[in-house]
């Protein structure tokens, strides 16, 4: 614990969410302060002599020069312990439900102080160590069942090691001592409630390569542009192109044990949507409501802008805490652009030298150090547990123009780029991920994993499918110049298959009860069937089958409806292979066979 020293000053200047206080000698950067008679929460951004520039996390209207400013000498921190899952926090970890109760109003009033973790609730603590055991930081002292699906692991805090001299089984509040650790005579009391400064990443033991997939149930993602556990991805796109829906889809269907969802400067209703929907939807992995593995953080666009900047750090610190327990955590941030804009706004008020488009020169490093907190690793503790944080950030480029600084700096550090395309969205082709310019740097690393699972066919199928779409784009150019009749029969087949790939595989309706999620098994079968039809079709064309008949075979309608098959019925897709053969052989003219042979 750092020494806490209280510093008291007075307000000198107020400009929007920036307050400058005088008489602050001894205060440090990043310390939390309470401002004015209301005790608004803020954080010191800059110290200059006895003056401190403070970003205020609440609306400043009504503040006056001369009102007090008090620094507690502690950086902005989150509370860690059981009770985080299923919570709905604001940007600085205040539970929004408690804010509602304290304000006695549906509006967020100011100066409300509520604890992040319930102080009264008793948790049933089950020790995993005995008195006399040697422990080091990160070792699991015991567990608490936080929700039906999340076992909360209470760890030895960083900086502490020694012999367990006391361990308390049974019902405890988060503030009660559950263990005492004796470090050569220095006694450390450990509670379930621990704290961590949000701007400092929590250490890990070793980093691992991202070669395990994190499936999302979204076909264009899993099959074409996959993300790995511990990976980083970004989804840039203009408004209405589907950033939020795809983030919600990930939060619902991603194969992660814990989901941290941060709504950063976006719509209030989108958070309400998650809040109302997640308790009702079951996680396909556990059969339990999705909310049982989820924590939500919201600084919606009408909430104070400075807390927007803090919200992503609050989120990633909570994610790190669960990673340290040994979980795979997925963090969705919608939208990182709003965070960057909050940074720009404060930088402007501090009168810093503006960089590109008014963003501060340190935008790139800030983004990079945020995404660096993702990763798959062996966490601290003797047992060598593995944990991961996968970070997916939405980016909202002004006018959809990707050349702007936030997108460009994000692309420099993230490994997957899902480029959303306004034209696809206008055609209601969702997810509107442009298959020609998106990429994933994990694709090759993950291929061996799926090839092993799917009889060495996976990577071949994907490569072929991507190739067909690429060819379609080139053929489309020709069609636009001289018409479809200029294409050869083989080329027409390519166009048909590419269309089938787009409409029957890549297109996926998030709001259709079945189509919304596809297992890898189902994705594989669908892809294989479409490609099989392509091969059989080409063969039939070579043998003289009429193109019209081929393209209008009844089996094509079955192919188009594969996506609506429930997971329990996907074996039916296998049977389509025979149907394809059968129907195609029916349209090959007699003697055609000999022709080809």
């Amino acid at each position: 614990m750092p020494d806490k020293k209280e510093v008291k000053g007075v307000i000198e200047r107020i400009s929007g969410s920036l307050v400058v206080a005088g008489g602050m000698e001894g205060a440090s950067m990043q310390d939390v302060v309470h401002i004015g008679e209301l005790g608004l929460v803020g954080e010191i951004l800059e110290v200059n002599g006895d003056k401190a520039s403070i970003q205020v996390y609440e609306e400043t209207s009504g503040l006056m020069p001369g009102e007090p400013v008090v620094s507690m000498g502690e950086p902005l921190s989150v509370e860690l312990g059981p009770g985080i899952i299923e919570q709905f926090y604001d940007g600085i970890q205040r539970p929004l439900e408690l804010i509602e109760k304290a304000a006695k109003s549906p509006y967020i009033s100011r100066g409300i102080s509520v604890p992040a973790l319930d102080r009264e609730k008793k948790w049933d603590f089950t020790p995993k160590v005995k008195v006399g055991d040697d422990v080091i930081a990160g070792d699991i002292l015991g567990t608490v069942q936080e929700t039906v699906v999340v076992e909360h692991r209470i760890m030895v805090p960083y900086g502490i090691k020694g012999k367990v001299s006391k361990i308390e089984k049974g019902e405890h509040t988060v503030e009660e001592v559950i263990a005492v650790i004796d470090d050569n005579g220095t006694m450390h009391e450990v509670k379930m409630l621990q704290r961590w400064p949000v701007r400092k990443s929590r250490p890990v033991k070793t980093r691992l390569a991202p070669n395990v997939p994190m499936t999302t149930g979204q076909r264009v993602v899993d099959a074409f542009f996959p993300v790995a556990l511990g990976g980083t991805a970004c989804v840039p796109g203009p408004f209405g192109s589907g950033k939020t829906v795809i983030q919600h889809q990930f939060a619902k269907w991603a194969q992660a044990q814990i989901v941290v969802y941060v709504g950063c400067g976006e719509r209030g209703n989108e958070m309400t949507d998650v809040l109302l929907e997640f308790p009702e939807l079951d996680d396909p992995q556990t059969g339990q409501p999705l909310m049982k593995r989820t924590t939500l953080i919201a600084n919606t666009s009408n909430m104070p802008v400075a807390a927007r900047e803090a919200s992503v750090y609050t989120a990633i610190t909570l994610a790190e805490y669960y990673r340290d327990m040994g979980y795979s955590v997925a963090l969705m941030a919608d939208s990182t652009s709003r965070w960057a804009e909050a940074l720009r706004e404060m930088s402007g008020r501090l009168e810093e030298m503006p960089g590109e488009e008014g963003y501060p020169a340190y935008l790139g490093t800030r983004l990079a150090s945020f995404y660096e907190r993702a990763g798959r690793c062996i966490v601290n503790g003797k047992d060598g547990r593995e944990g991961s944080i996968t970070v997916i950030g939405a980016v909202s480029p002004p006018g959809g123009d990707l050349s702007e600084p936030v997108t460009q700096n994000t692309l420099r550090v993230t490994k997957v780029f899902w480029g959303l395309d306004a034209n696809l969205a206008y055609q209601r082709h969702f997810p509107a991920i442009n298959w020609l310019n998106s990429y994933s740097l994990y694709t090759e690393r993950l291929d061996p994993y799926w090839d092993e699972k799917f009889d060495d066919q996976w990577s071949g199928l994907r490569t072929e499918a991507m190739g067909l779409l690429e060819q379609e784009a080139q053929l489309n150019e020709i069609v636009r110049l001289v018409g479809i009749d200029a294409l050869s029969r083989d080329e027409r087949m390519v166009m048909e298959t590419a269309k089938s790939l787009r409409e029957d595989f890549l297109h996926q309706n998030a709001f259709h009860e079945i189509d919304t999620y596809a297992s890898m098994e189902k994705q594989f079968k669908m892809l294989r069937t479409i490609v099989s039809f392509h091969h059989a079709g080409l063969d039939a064309l070579h043998k003289g089958a009429p193109m019209n008949k081929l393209f209008n075979l009844p089996v094509r309608e079955q192919i188009a409806r594969m996506r609506y098959l429930e997971e329990k019925d996907i074996a039916q897709i296998d049977k389509l292979e025979d149907t394809i053969k059968e129907q195609i052989s029916g349209i090959i003219p007699v003697g055609g066979d000999t022709n080809a042979a």
Binding site: S15, E97, D401, Q427
Partner: protein, 468 residues
Amino acid sequence: MLPREYRTISSISGPLMMVEKTQDVMYDELVEITLSNGDKRRGRVLEIESDRALVQVFEGTTGIENDDTKVRFLGKVLTLPVSRDMLGRVFNGRGEPIDGGAQLIAEQNLDINGMPMNPFSRDYPSEFIQTGISTIDGLNPMVRGQKLPIFSASGLPHNRMAAQIARQATVISGHEDFAVVFAAMGITFEEASFFMEDFRRTGALQRTVLYINLADDPAIERISTPRIALTAAEYLAFECNMHVVVILTDLTNYCEALREISAARKEVPGRRGYPGYLYTDLATMYERAGRLKGKSGSITQIPILTMPEDDKTHPIPDLTGYITEGQIILSRSLHRQGIYPPVDVMPSLSRLKDKGIGRDKTREDHADLMNQLFAAYARGKEAKELAVILGEGALSDEDKAFAKFSTVFEDKYVRQGEYENRTIKETLELGWDLLTMIPVKELKRIRDAYIEKYLNPLLKAKAEKGNA
């Protein structure tokens, strides 16, 4: 606290003035300015540095002199007196009556900036509003509590369309207490009187509150006008339990006033000179739409903005689209073809449609039908483009069908009368009727069951007619 009076204006710049040697001034405090000729103006504190306060003057600073002007700090932020009696009244952009009627007797005085709604306290909007306009009801359905702007451009009939929506908007489940709050920002007298006349003629005026800042009214006043209107709306919706539709027009004029202040403060300009906080500023207004748990009222917002140079990527429509729950975009090309309402279907969007439609709300087939109409129209338009280059002959038979579909779609589905109020059932039937032009196997977005139930009878009837 006593109001304090100063004669210490040290500098004036655009709509801003600096007042020196101030004491106990609050951030955002309301200010009253008395000119040497006795004229009174109002303003608010934008920034305080020790004993200097930067004040934004709502009516502008012309005529203010450094020595002879008195500045009083009123010890409160700008508030609006509200009561149910606002209904039927006309106010100026600062909230003062201009209809010759009495001053309002306030039930409450509310801070015009409002407070952020707690997302935990929100209720998700899901109650379908029938506007009687097919391109909205059928393709971009609106729900109570939604914020759905109209992106227009100069010379397009956005006012007529907004008036039609205000006139026709009903909820399927029946009539309830409703009100319209109308805020004009920098529009012409002619435009404002068009709305007033329409409200009067349809008898809606008694249920309407109007705040009017015209083109020749002070520009800086426009910063407050929408906030005043929304404060009135919040009172009517959540204190008086009414369903309130707020029409804000024209947001482009609002943003220009904001840019003017930002320039006067010498702030680092963002895109096209608009301040970097334009997004946040707009969000604090747009996000005041919605529903609250445990309250029966609602605020539905229809902001109207004109896109400079018809450019959707201009910061005003762009940032609006990032905040609002969709957008209805008007098309100049449809307007030129004489199609009213000229809704550009492809880029228009209602984000809250999914929970507002379907069985028990509109009809089970609504979502599938909507998706199919979009897909078919997109394909038809593409085919038509191709036909322009290569000639009709280059199209496949299917593409020909789609091309024809898209033409008829614009003529029958998009086009409708200004007083034509289509029920949702009529709109859905019209959609199915148009789909009969397309080969069934191309209707991939629709479940078989619905094709069976809604399309096949139409196809059968068509075939019988053909035979006869």
